[in-house]
Symmetry: C2
Subunit: 133 residues, 2 copies
């Protein structure tokens, strides 16, 4: 299954290990910039929060247990090191420019320059929207 | 970016459109079965909930707006139709057999037979675990 990047994450974090653990540094600001071909997908976007699905392209895909605790498998964790380094970050939306394909976000934890593969608007921090049609 | 399936979802839903909207039919039961090569990743798994990341392999990847409302882009929704049909389903965990690579789940909405590309344990319905190391 081949994923094509729909955009790129711009954040203050050079590497994934520098990124804050989720829930900390809620104010870290970042930007997701979509490629022109994907921008139409932002039409009518007005959500306060968004799930950013991104690809940790520097992660070690060969490991199945955690380096710091070999008694725990990678699926017990959110470490980017895993067979398919698909990461999920729920962020607050500060501003959207659908035409420019730009989202200004808060609460980011993506590594700078990571490919973004999907975006899903959310209704609030507890509950996703119900559009699985 | 190439994703390799780590397993398969077995659910009562033949197609994605039959699957319940999230939050409905919370009791729908399903199973995720991991391929032998990925099973070690379940070591020590004891969470009550899990985020199942799966690939909607029958979804239309060519659309950027919703069929039922062209004023809304796919990124405003959770429709599986989108450039990269990566879907996210948070499920309750009824039982885990790490050795057999099997998770018995409730609250599934995956289409039967869909490839699973990742699993992430969660601490509860509101809050994901903090293992972004």
């Amino acid at each position: 299954m081949e994923c094509d990047p729909i955009g790129t994450a711009h954040t203050p974090f050079e590497t994934t290990s520098e990124a804050p653990r989720q829930g900390f540094h809620e104010d870290a600001a970042g930007v997701v910039e979509l490629v022109p071909a994907a921008r139409e997908g932002l039409t009518g976007f007005d959500a306060d929060r968004v799930v950013v699905v991104w690809w940790a392209d520097r992660a070690d895909r060969s490991v199945l247990t955690l380096a710091r605790d070999p008694e725990r498998g990678v699926f017990t964790s959110r470490s980017p090191a895993r067979p398919n380094p698909v990461c999920i970050s729920e962020c607050r939306v500060d501003a959207v420019d659908a035409e420019a394909g730009r989202l200004d976000l808060r609460g980011v934890d993506m590594a700078d320059g990571s490919p973004v593969i999907d975006l899903k608007a959310t209704v609030d921090v507890q509950c996703w929207t119900d559009d699985s049609t």
